[in-house]
Subunit: 178 residues, 2 copies
């Protein structure tokens, strides 16, 4: 007798974000790590037993540095900027969706605008069985300045959350980078 | 192409403890929940892809209430008590080991004496891919008085930890009970 034969696939929500080093459309090191870990350690060969729900929350650039070279002469420009950001988000997700298709595991993907903590609200809507989120594995001192999305998720999600720490070998010179 | 065909099974360490309501050899509500969740949501039908490492840490009774009816006249009595506790631990694990055999997933089980936080040290030794631990889902006020093992594990384990909250429907009248 197996634990579960067939039945509804386990819904795993994987939260991914962009690289602070390479920028769009590259995913962060910890996102890639969390996604790869999910495939290797959880899904394994049982691709029909799972469904991956990919969520990328785009953070609006608060200080506007990203848009220093942009000229905003009309509302149309803002619209174009928003469209560009959306495209970028889709590119970021493309890697993950492509990989899911390649290995044959069902997936859905969303881009949301807002605070990374939006992941939680989104989780309430799509109701995953659990959430996988990458973590930079910062020490308490480093955390003071940057905050951690993974810890917020663990505290506030309605479902179980598993944080996958970035390996030491993959940590950039500045560990806040990802 | 599957994510992982064959290869070394994913090692899941599941920490279980005894019921504060029913006592030995009954497992706590949250332990049972964490174990069942692992079978249903992670292992599913892929029983050859996983190995379950069961750990039960027996907490020595600090205030001695459990032993109020016991007479300790010789060092031999203490030895007998320790033996009895060990037997109890084995009974507690029996349910889980039996279930693993029933569904055909490989498992190993250990009883340790000490602080529940010993789970962490033990994790360092057996090196699981991740740890599953039940949680009573206490609110911050309730936590002040009893402490939570799951949060300690999340903070200090070398590997990812997933805490499975007890469902509201299963919460006893006193939520500190389990």
């Amino acid at each position: 007798m197996a634990a579960v034969e067939g039945g509804v696939p386990t819904r795993i929500m994987v939260a991914v974000n962009e690289s602070t080093i390479k920028g769009y459309p590259h995913a962060s090191i910890s996102s890639m790590g969390a996604f790869d870990w999910t495939l290797k350690k959880i899904i394994r060969s049982n691709t029909s037993g799972f469904k991956i729900l990919l969520i990328h929350v785009q953070v609006p650039d608060e200080d506007g540095f990203d848009d220093m070279d942009s000229i905003f002469a009309s509302p149309e420009d803002f619209k174009r900027m928003k469209h560009r950001d959306k495209i970028r988000g889709l590119h970021l997700l493309e890697y993950f969706v492509h990989k899911c298709h390649e290995i044959g595991v069902a997936c859905e993907a969303w881009v949301k605008k807002g605070d990374p903590k939006e992941v939680i609200c989104f989780g309430k809507r799509v109701q995953p069985d659990f959430i996988v989120v990458g973590s930079r594995g910062l020490n308490p001192f480093q955390k003071v300045f940057v905050g951690t999305v993974s810890e917020f998720c663990i505290k506030h999600a309605d479902c179980p959350v598993i944080a996958i720490k970035r390996s030491t070998a993959q940590t950039p010179q500045d560990p806040v980078d990802d």
